[in-house]
């Protein structure tokens, strides 16, 4: 190359032509940068929407997120009370926390500048430290972009036309593939565990199912629930009410997953083989249990594992109490309960059937011969409708009607049935009546959306062409000359809102209507029957309204007498609460007798 490379010297000088041009930088802070609509800057957290599930903390591989408690946030069911605090010395602004936030509360903003001499200022609690940033949300995750899987695997069920012909199970249960997919959705936050009366290890067993280890799942499930297959079919599933995914989508089908896992063990032997619980050496203590319902069975099973000599006294010929005689077989088949009880018997639980305490054996005999007594007697008597001619033939209580149906008998209800009530039991009565071939009308005082029954059950009833008559108040039974029901008179109601409470039904005067029917089933609630208790015990037993008063150990005001289930005030009247009572009493009895 020549030293006189003129072109090579002069051409670069064309750069000089740029000198008069506008710069393409901006003069900060007089001018502001145009920031992307999805800029990944500092976070903002909607503190009210956030449920403290901690999924952001879990996904963050930089350990930049800590879940901390804030003075202004109190925990509640479905909200751990914790909120994310972010260390911006560690955050890499990847926004995975945003993409996995199930509630959509955590987002990123277009804020990215912070100057401070104090390094601790970079520990920020989004939403609390920068409430104004709510107007600058940029990187967010909507239902489409979120990494959460919001849609539940649908449960297959029998066709409505087909299922009213028999008592075959309506829900067919997940198959293996469905269960794996559904289990995969769980984010293991544990909010469910907190809200479950028994505090079952839900994330753990779902994880086992997701990992295709069903046996591990069964083992985990039986750790604190002895009737999980029942819960896997008919539980009120408060766990699902607080599932992190239900804030924006559908809750994980915790109940169906439990049902899937537990039905893998086909018989009592298989359960024993898989669960292989640790059984303590027998001790010298005896515990008497009254009632083989969920509460009594639970107390019996876990005490038997701890080496106690357990005897359960049951008035009926089959175990299960209300889950056997109250829940229809299309929801919970006979064999399913029997299988679980057979397993408990294998573990040393003795049950005396057809033994009504107070008649076949006295309460005192049990009490005196036992080191502790647990009473899980349930609610056996029905509340009456309190209307004229209620004593007519053909007026049933739900307990009586379902008891007969579940015992395999065919109650004589004729062709047209009116069921009164709006809870799960009333829906059960309607759907059972349908299966006996009746045309069913269900009278409820309030609107359908006010019904306390499980929406899934209401939907099932509607599919089966059960005529729900909302806002109707029964006023009298109409009977024929033989004293048999031939109809029911009711008033229509309008909903009146008062104060802040839910609207109240008020009868519309002059709206009397008569519906013809062959039977009326009253399903408006049950109460306990304490006739089994001798007078001196009954007098001393402290009550709260009509329920037995117990402390948190489920100990009554009588020494060494524990109680649980529907007859105590604790919790809602459902099977899982009864199991929780039985489990809590187990621990208390063990502590009382063994000191541990």
């Amino acid at each position: 190359m020549s030293i006189l490379n003129l072109k090579g010297i002069l051409t670069p000088l064309t750069a000089l032509k740029q000198m008069g041009k506008e710069p393409h930088t901006i003069n900060f802070p007089d001018e502001q940068k145009n920031i992307s609509k999805i800029y990944r800057g500092f976070h903002h957290n909607d503190l009210d929407l956030c449920i403290g599930c901690g999924n952001c903390e879990t996904i963050c591989m930089n350990d930049a997120i800590d879940m901390i408690s804030l003075a202004e946030i109190a925990g509640e069911p479905g909200d751990s009370g914790l909120r994310p605090r972010i260390d911006y010395g560690r955050c890499c602004y990847c926004a995975l926390c945003v993409d996995v936030c199930p509630s959509g509360s955590l987002n990123m903003t277009s804020e990215f500048m912070k100057v401070t001499p104090d390094p601790y200022d970079f520990l920020m609690t989004p939403g609390k430290d920068n409430p104004e940033a709510v107007d600058k949300l940029s990187f967010t995750a909507d239902m489409d972009t979120s990494l959460n899987l919001f849609d539940r695997v649908p449960m297959r069920e029998l066709d409505p036309e087909e299922r009213v012909k028999s008592f075959a199970e309506v829900f067919l249960g997940y198959n293996e593939e469905e269960a794996r997919i559904e289990a995969n959705r769980c984010i293991s936050c544990g909010l469910c565990t907190e809200n479950c009366p028994v505090h079952m290890h839900i994330p753990e067993y779902i994880n086992a199912i997701a990992n295709a280890d069903d046996e591990a799942a069964i083992k985990i499930i039986y750790d604190n629930n002895d009737l999980p297959e029942m819960c896997g079919k008919v539980c009120t599933r408060r766990c699902e009410d607080v599932c992190a995914l239900q804030v924006r989508g559908e809750a994980v089908a915790i109940r169906w997953l439990k049902g899937y896992a537990t039905t893998r063990a086909e018989n009592a032997e298989m359960i024993a083989e898989i669960v292989k619980p640790e059984v303590r050496e027998p001790n010298q203590y005896k515990v008497g249990i009254i009632g083989a319902g969920p509460a009594g069975l639970t107390a019996g099973y876990y005490l038997a594992l701890k080496g106690y000599d357990i005897t359960i006294y049951e008035a009926q010929k089959d175990p299960g109490g209300m889950i056997m005689y109250g829940i229809p077989k299309y929801r919970l088949p006979y064999d399913s309960i029997q299988k679980q009880v057979d397993y408990m018997k294998k573990m040393g639980v003795k049950i005396h059937f057809n033994t009504k305490v107070g008649k076949d054996i006295s309460f005192n005999e049990i009490y005196d011969n036992s080191d502790a007594v647990f009473m899980g007697i349930g609610l056996q008597d029905a509340w009456s409708l309190g209307i004229q001619d209620e004593d007519a033939e053909g007026v049933w209580s739900a307990v009586e009607f379902l008891g007969k149906a579940n015992a395999g008998e065919t109650p004589d209800i004729g062709k047209r049935v009116v069921v009164v009530g709006g809870g799960d039991v009333s829906i059960d009565c309607s759907r059972v009546s349908k299966r006996f071939g009746a045309d069913v009308f269900q009278s409820y005082r309030r609107r359908i959306q006010d019904m306390p029954a499980d929406p899934e059950e209401i939907e099932g009833a509607e599919q089966e062409h059960i005529h729900i008559m909302p806002q109707t108040i029964p006023t009298r039974v109409i009977k024929d000359e033989k004293g048999h029901v031939k109809g029911m008179e009711y008033l229509k109601a309008e909903m009146v809102s008062e104060g802040g409470g839910r609207p109240r039904p008020v009868a519309i005067e002059g709206s009397e209507t008569i519906i013809e029917c062959d039977a009326i089933i009253a399903a408006i609630g049950q109460k306990a029957n304490y006739e089994l208790l001798p007078k001196e015990i009954a007098d001393k037993l402290e009550m709260v309204k009509d329920k037995i008063k117990v402390n948190e150990d489920r100990l009554t005001s009588i020494p060494k007498l524990f109680a649980g289930g529907d007859a105590v005030k604790f919790g809602n009247s459902d099977a899982i609460s009864a199991i929780a009572d039985g489990y809590a009493a187990t621990k208390a009895i063990d502590k009382m007798l063994m000191g541990k």
């Binding site: 145009n34 992307s36 879990t58 996904i59 591989m61 930089n62 972009t145 899987l149 995969n184 293991s188």
Partner: protein
């Protein structure tokens, strides 16, 4: 003739002419390099080991740290490897978006290289221009991904977000602008007598040794060997796009620079075609819940043509929710150690940084 004394000279680990924290131990005699030895260890963060401790999705946020100036091809290689393991399909739209992102990444990285290459040759104006223009590409990235440098955008199954409204037009405009600027760059660098004198015949990689030494990318194409993963084993949407792979003979800094210059033009061409033919539909084939996402046992190797040449990810899965082993084969390891040590002897000390810049050496990628 008296033999001059050999002196040991440590270039780096912190030195403006070094492309990251690494050190070259030079033995010099006068101004001439007698031998060179690359020393690493200043940046080691055990990326590959860290990946083993993270689940399949979490890993993707550290992938971009392998190489600051071009994080995207590494993300893409990882995503391709996971998809191979899983047999996960990628929507066509995602393939096109990936192609655009990969080419934008190429252009912005070359613009940064312009700065490094010209700066280490003593020409500073071009660097300021090209790094300024690079920001227009970063603006596109910011609009598309939410971040300018570490995009964390191409994950298994597709891309993270769809093209935002107005983005396509902005991308066309940016391409038009850049195309015009390339002439100015040309005048400042390739027509410049200083650059010509310093680049021609310097840092020669012999054509017959290039493949043996593991040279890839522009340095390989600068020896006249036409090798490009985008053509040889197309991924993303490259098989549906018409483009050329420029090659130059010579194997010196000059040839490598010419390859890069021409590749920017090709990248603009590729981006335009991808924008023209952008299919509709989904941009993302959803992965399962990342917390419980397991990948079938097996191993997979996926490679892409990064800015610096072929890079590949090797992943081994034992069927769990974390990779059992992850390994990155990048261009920098061969270029920065074996090639550099072989071609430096005989060169002038002043050209060491100049040659280093022309090889595309990214120290964090060597220290995986």
């Amino acid at each position: 003739m008296t033999r001059e004394k050999e002196t040991t000279l440590y270039l780096g680990p912190q030195h403006p002419g070094i492309t990251g924290n690494m050190m070259i131990k030079l033995k010099v005699s006068g101004d001439t390099v007698v031998s060179a030895e690359t020393h690493l260890g200043y940046l080691h963060r055990a990326f590959e080991k860290l990946i083993e401790r993270r689940n399949w999705l979490q890993s993707f946020t550290i992938l971009c740290r392998f190489c600051v100036p071009e994080p995207d091809p590494i993300e893409l290689s990882y995503a391709l490897a996971v998809e191979k393991l899983e047999g996960r399909a990628v929507p066509e739209r995602a393939d096109y978006i990936r192609t655009i992102v990969a080419e934008l990444a190429r252009i912005q990285s070359f613009l940064l290289w312009y700065g490094g290459q010209s700066g280490s040759g003593g020409l500073y104006t071009l660097g300021q221009w090209s790094v300024g223009d690079r920001n227009y590409i970063l603006d596109l990235f910011e609009d598309l991904t939410g971040a300018r440098i570490y995009h964390m955008f191409m994950w298994p199954g597709g891309v993270r977000r769809d093209l935002p409204e107005g983005w396509v037009d902005k991308a066309y405009r940016t391409m038009d602008y850049l195309e015009k600027r390339l002439d100015d760059y040309n005048k400042l660098l390739f027509d410049n007598a200083i650059f010509q004198k310093r680049a021609q015949g310097v840092g020669i990689i012999p054509k017959d040794k290039a493949l043996e030494w593991g040279v890839v990318g522009p340095p390989l194409r600068g020896t006249g060997i036409k090798h490009d993963v985008r053509i040889d084993e197309p991924y993303a949407a490259y098989d549906k796009i018409d483009f050329e792979v420029p090659t130059y003979e010579g194997g010196d800094v000059w040839a490598r620079a010419l390859v890069r210059r021409d590749e920017i033009k090709q990248s603009i061409n590729i981006i335009r075609q991808a924008l023209d033919n952008m299919p509709g539909g989904s941009y993302y084939n959803r992965i399962p819940n990342p917390m419980k996402w397991t990948v079938p046992a097996g191993n997979a190797w996926a490679k892409t043509e990064s800015v610096r040449g072929e890079i590949g990810f090797y992943l081994v899965s034992d069927g769990s929710n974390k990779p059992r082993r992850a390994h990155l084969r990048g261009a920098a390891y061969a270029h920065g150690i074996s090639v550099l040590e072989k071609i430096l002897p005989g060169e002038n000390i002043a050209d060491v940084s100049f040659i280093l810049n022309s090889l595309g050496v990214c120290p964090p990628e060597m220290e995986r």
